[in-house]
Amino acid sequence: MRSASSKDASAFLAFDRSGLAMRASHVLVVILVVAAFGFAAVGAALNDTFYLRLATEALIFGGFALSVDILLGYTGLLSLGHALYFGFGAYVSALVLKETPSFWAAMGAVLAATLVFGFITGLIANRVRGVYFALVTFGIAQVAAKAVYNTRALGASDGLIGIPIVPINLGFMTVMSNAPVAFFLFTLVFVILLYVAAAYLLDTSFGRILGALRVNEHRVPFLGYSTHRARLSIYVFAAIIAALSGALYPMLRGFVSPELMFFTTSGNAVITVVIGGVGTLAGALYGSVILTVLKSVIGTMTEHHLIVIGILFMAVVIFLPKGLMGVIRPRIARRLRGGAR
């Protein structure tokens, strides 16, 4: 039989919908990055602090939403307790920073601790599927949050306060965590790196198994893959993405509180992903920006901003079920496909 030449092989990639969609996501993220640089320039020129810090927070929660989309949009796992890892990263980071204000020590500790913590909790959560997975993840997070809430050594309900300003040594320069423009740009790069790592992983052969799990998990074992192993691996990866995002939180805000692990935080991330577009990655970042802006704008007008967010969420689910990026991205993917041919 005639074998496909490598030219044929690359032509095949025009039929690789997941790969095209991911490249369309890259285009959207590049647009977001350009806009963010413009925003930073304006912020710097106007000597702004408030909006830069708000945007930094949006990026941090955007990184967290990425991890929720990895599970929900790419693997088909709805976690209702994913804030556990965001909060875990924030607390570990805060505890390290209080000892020694070293960015790299904090990141190293968060990475190592989440690997272990994510694996153990992942073993529990991944024993079940579907609705039960949502309930178990919710349960684990509630138990952990309550435990933190009642632990004096972790500041109990007050959380940990008085996190020092962190000098982030990048070798060629040092970014101070209290410098609005510099820390915003640093967070932008950091979150984009998380995006790149996630997007890369989802585009590998391993990543495609996750897509297969989402679409039809019953066939996956017959292709030679353990569904449990694949699910557990991506669960730990998503936990690490969430925790690394959370690790930046105390650097921005100077404190952490048990609310970071509560259901509201988990639920907000799910809303963020749904508004931005489930299974688009870029949507997680856009969704976070939209939600953060809305919350602060509406928050200045009325204290009932949650009602507005709730209505927006319902409207998106009903009228734009694929979310914002779910509408925009296919158009870009079609162009890319045309170009690939």
């Binding site: 039989m1 074998s3 496909a4 690789d16 790969g19 495609r208 897509g211 039809n216 066939r219 292709l223």
Partner: protein, 248 residues
């Protein structure tokens, strides 16, 4: 030479009903072994037992002479088993290319798992072979769910075959196909059997007699008879239990 697949005393019961009860046979290399029997005879359940989807209560399964009894499906696959399903079991929301790519990527060395799929030469080449063999080249960019029934049945076989198994289990591959498609598929299966051991479940008795090297007859979970097509056709017990009520 050890047979490619050996099944001995295989059995399972669902709430007291013995769906498969003490079935023993061998599937020889480069041959087509066909399992026949009326609806509910336990044919698909037998496939589920062999492929590891259901752990057997009794008996054992050996692949290439190695005992694999109780191994889960993904390990059976790695041991060289491929299977298709009676009810089309594809990734309907993925394209034909993505379905085949997923099924073929086991051919890659382990390090490919963490590399972009475009780097997987072996699997891309395999996809190229499969689309030619199964006439799916024009459909590569279509969602599997948008294919015609006949195309989906072809893709179902292609996916099962993608990772180059040594034993291929096909559960009613021609189910619901038109007459012409059925004949084409029979020819295709005959061709495939030159490289891979085939265990087939098929209802079209004319087709079965035509392409099988060995036939296993099941009835109410038990093995009623086995042998070459003429022997099975001549067997009075088979005539009574199977050809009697399947003459339609």
């Amino acid at each position: 030479m050890t047979p490619a697949l050996q099944v001995e005393g295989l059995g399972v019961a669902f709430g007291g009903i013995r769906a498969v009860d003490g079935v023993s046979f061998m599937a020889q290399r480069q041959a087509i072994t066909t399992v026949i029997g009326p609806n509910g005879a336990g044919k698909s359940t037998l496939f589920n037992l062999i492929s590891g989807q259901i752990p057997p209560h009794t008996g054992r399964v050996a692949l290439d002479g190695v005992d694999r009894t109780g191994a889960p499906p993904h390990l059976m696959q790695r041991a060289g088993l491929g299977r298709s399903f009676q009810i089309t079991n594809l990734f309907f929301e993925l394209t034909v290319f993505e379905n085949l790519q997923l099924a073929a990527q086991r051919l890659e060395p382990p390090r490919q798992m963490l590399r972009r799929i475009g780097h997987g030469e072996a699997s891309l080449q395999r996809v190229g072979e499969l689309v030619e063999r199964f006439s799916l080249a024009a459909k590569l960019g279509e969602l599997a769910g948008a294919l015609s029934h006949g195309e989906q049945r072809r893709l179902e076989i292609a996916v099962a075959l993608a990772a180059k198994p040594s034993v291929l289990l096909l559960d009613e591959p021609t189910q619901g196909m038109s007459h012409g498609d059925t004949a084409d598929t029979a020819r295709l299966i005959r061709d495939l059997s030159r490289d891979v051991t085939i265990l087939l479940i098929e209802h079209d008795i004319g087709l079965v007699m035509d392409i099988s090297d060995h036939i296993v007859v099941m009835h109410q979970g038990r093995m009623l008879a086995e042998g070459a097509p003429p022997e099975v056709r001549a067997n009075p017990a088979v005539k009574a239990a199977y050809f009697g009520d399947a003459s339609c």
